[in-house]
Symmetry: C2
Subunit: 336 residues, 2 copies
C-alpha cells in the first residue's frame, strides 16, 4: 500500500474539493491509503466512503497570502499542512498532496520533511502544457533564486528521472532556458551550466532554448534558476490570461461574431481545458526525503485527484531513490 | 524638417515593405524628410513619389542570423544599416528606422551613433500590447544582461519621459518585474533597484509587478535587467504563438465548430491584430546620441510606417535632450 497524507484544508475551495478529490483517488487507485489532515466536522460532509481513508484532526490553516512562510509553519505546527508534512518525516506516510500556499509548503517541506542528503538544493517543478498535448517540466519555478551551476545539474537529473519514470519518456531531453540558441549566450551562470550539461553523460542535453518556443519546445524539460523559471511560469500565466481576455472581448463583437461564438462554445471549452494547469497535474518539490506535490490553489476535485495520482506514481516508481543513486554514482566518479 | 535615415534593405520583406512604408510616411507626416539607404535598382520599383525622399546607394546587407554582430557591422560599413546609422553621427539625419537584425543594430548603434554621455548603459525597449488596448513599455529587452542598479534608474527615466512625451501618459507608473509583489522579493539586484526606485523623486514607482499581470499591468512601464526582460518578451511571444496554435486546432473541430469559425473569422482577425507587435510600433534603443528604432523583422508597410512615425515623434518631442536634462540634474543633486 502507498500511504499518502492529504492536506484537506489548503486551497481556495478546501476542504470540499480536496476531500472529493481524495474520494475519487480511493475509487480509482487500488493501492493507496489516504490520511486526511483537517477539521473533522468540515470534512465529514464530503466523506462518502471510509475505505482506505482516515481523518486526523488538525487546528488552523496556513493562509494563502502568508508573508513569512517559515514563521507561519513554525507557529502552526498543528495546521493541516504542517501535520501532513510531519507525517512523512515520521514515516507514517510516503508523500503529501497540498493545494496550500506554495511558499509555506516549500518552507514547511524543508523544515518538516527535510532535504535528501545527496541533493544540495530543492527545486519546484510544475508541468506546463504544450501544443502537442503533452506536458513539459519547468524548473526551478521558485525554490532558489541564486544557485550554483552544479546544483542545477542535480536538479536536471531529478527532472530527467521524473520524466522517464512518470511521463514515460525514454530519453528525456533537457533544454536550458536562454535568450539565444547558440552556445555562449546568456549570463555567466547560463554559460557555465551549458558546459556542465553538455559534458555530462547522465543527461540528454538539447542545448539552449529560447522561450519563444515555450509552448512548443524541442525538449521535455526546461530548466533555469529559481528566479528566471518563476518569471517564465508567471509570464505564461499572464499571457494566456491576457490573450484569453482579448479573445473573449473580440469574439463577442457583432451579430455574426455572437452567432459564431454560439457554435464554437464546445470548442472554446476544450481550448480552455488544454491550457488549464490542473488538468496535467501539480508541481513536485524535488530534493526532499519524501514526495511533496503542490496542487493548484484553485484545484477542483479532478485537479486535486490528479495531484494524488501523481504522488502515488512517484512513490510507486521509487523516483527519489533512483535520483539518489545517480547523484551518488556521480560523486563516486568525481573522487575515484 | 525632421530628417530620418531609412535602412531600406533590412527585414524579411525588404526592400518592398520598407519603401512602401516610407511612401506612406511621406504622405501622412508633412514635417519629415527621408533618406533611403539601399540598392537603387531594387528600391526604385516601389518609389512612387520623390517628394522629401532621396536614395543613397549602399552595398550589402547585414544578415538576420549574424553570429558576430560587432564584426558584421565593422566589416560592412557600406551596408544599408551601417550607412543609415553613420548618417546620424554625421548629423545628416536625426534618427534611423531599421527592420534589420536586432543584435547588429544594437552593436552598430553603439559603434556608429554612439552613447549619450550622461547615460551609462543603453537599453532596448519594445512596446507590448495590453488588454486595455494601449501599450506597455518593456525594458531592457536584451541590451545589458548584467547591470548595476543605478543604471536601471537612468533607463527608468528614459522610459518615463518616453511614456510622457510619446504615449501621452501624464504620470507614467514604473513597475519592477519580480517574482512577488511585496518589497524585499527577488534577487539582490531586484531588492536594490526597488530601494533606488522607491526613494527617487523623479520616478512614479508602482512597486514590484509579477508577470502574471504582464498583459494587464497596473503600470505603464515594466522594467528588469536585459536577461530577464528579454526572457519575458520571448515568453509572451511563445505563449501567444502556442495559445494561438491550440485555439486554431480546437476551433476547427466538428461541424458546429467549423460553422462557428466561419462566422467568427472577422473577430479572430481583429483578435490577432491586437496581439501583433508591429501594430503598436517598434522597439527604441535608449541611451544613444540619436533616435534608433528597431521595427519588427517581419514588418509589412504599415508596421514599418508606424516605426517611422514613432521615430519622428521622438525627434519632434526632443526626448533625448529631456532625458539628458533629468540625468544631469540628478548628478548635480548628488554633488552640490
Amino acid at each position: 500500500m502507498i500511504k499518502l497524507a492529504i492536506d484537506a484544508m489548503g486551497g481556495d475551495y478546501a476542504p470540499k474539493e480536496q476531500v472529493e478529490g481524495a474520494m475519487l483517488a480511493i475509487k480509482n487507485i487500488p493501492d493507496i491509503e489516504l490520511t486526511l489532515y483537517g477539521e473533522p466536522a468540515k470534512i465529514e460532509p464530503y466523506l462518502t466512503d471510509s475505505t482506505r481513508i482516515s481523518v486526523v484532526p488538525s487546528e488552523g490553516v496556513i493562509n494563502m497570502g502568508e508573508k513569512d512562510p517559515i514563521r507561519a509553519i513554525r507557529s502552526n505546527r498543528k495546521s493541516s499542512m504542517a501535520m501532513a508534512l510531519s507525517s512523512v518525516r515520521n514515516k507514517e506516510n510516503e508523500g503529501v498532496v497540498s493545494s496550500g500556499a506554495t511558499q509555506a509548503l516549500i518552507a514547511g517541506a524543508h523544515i518538516l520533511v527535510g532535504r535528501m542528503k545527496s541533493m544540495k538544493r530543492t527545486a519546484i517543478a510544475p508541468l506546463i502544457p504544450n501544443i502537442k498535448g503533452t506536458s513539459t517540466i519547468l524548473l526551478d519555478a521558485g525554490g532558489n533564486l541564486e544557485i550554483k551551476p552544479e546544483y542545477m545539474v542535480q536538479q536536471a537529473y531529478f527532472a530527467s528521472i521524473y520524466a522517464k519514470e512518470i511521463l514515460a519518456i525514454e530519453k528525456p531531453l533537457v533544454g536550458l532556458i536562454n535568450i539565444g540558441s547558440e552556445e555562449g549566450k546568456g549570463r555567466v551562470l547560463d554559460q557555465e551550466v551549458f558546459k556542465l550539461f553538455k559534458e555530462n553523460p547522465n543527461l540528454h542535453f538539447y542545448g539552449n532554448v529560447e522561450p519563444k518556443e515555450v509552448l512548443n519546445p524541442p525538449c521535455n524539460i526546461l530548466i533555469s534558476d529559481g528566479f528566471t523559471a518563476n518569471i517564465v511560469m508567471k509570464t505564461i500565466e499572464g499571457t494566456a490570461k491576457g490573450v484569453g481576455a482579448i479573445l473573449k472581448e473580440e469574439l463577442k463583437k457583432g451579430v455574426l461574431g455572437k452567432l459564431g461564438l454560439l457554435f464554437s462554445i464546445r470548442n472554446l471549452k476544450r481550448f480552455k481545458k488544454r491550457l488549464a494547469p490542473e488538468e496535467i497535474g501539480g508541481a513536485m518539490i524535488y530534493g526532499l526525503n519524501g514526495v511533496v506535490i503542490k496542487a493548484q490553489g484553485s484545484s477542483k476535485a479532478v485537479g486535486f485527484y490528479n495531484g494524488i495520482r501523481q504522488a502515488a506514481n512517484v512513490v510507486r516508481q521509487d523516483v527519489i531513490k533512483k535520483v539518489h543513486s545517480v547523484i551518488e554514482s556521480d560523486n563516486t566518479d568525481e573522487k575515484p
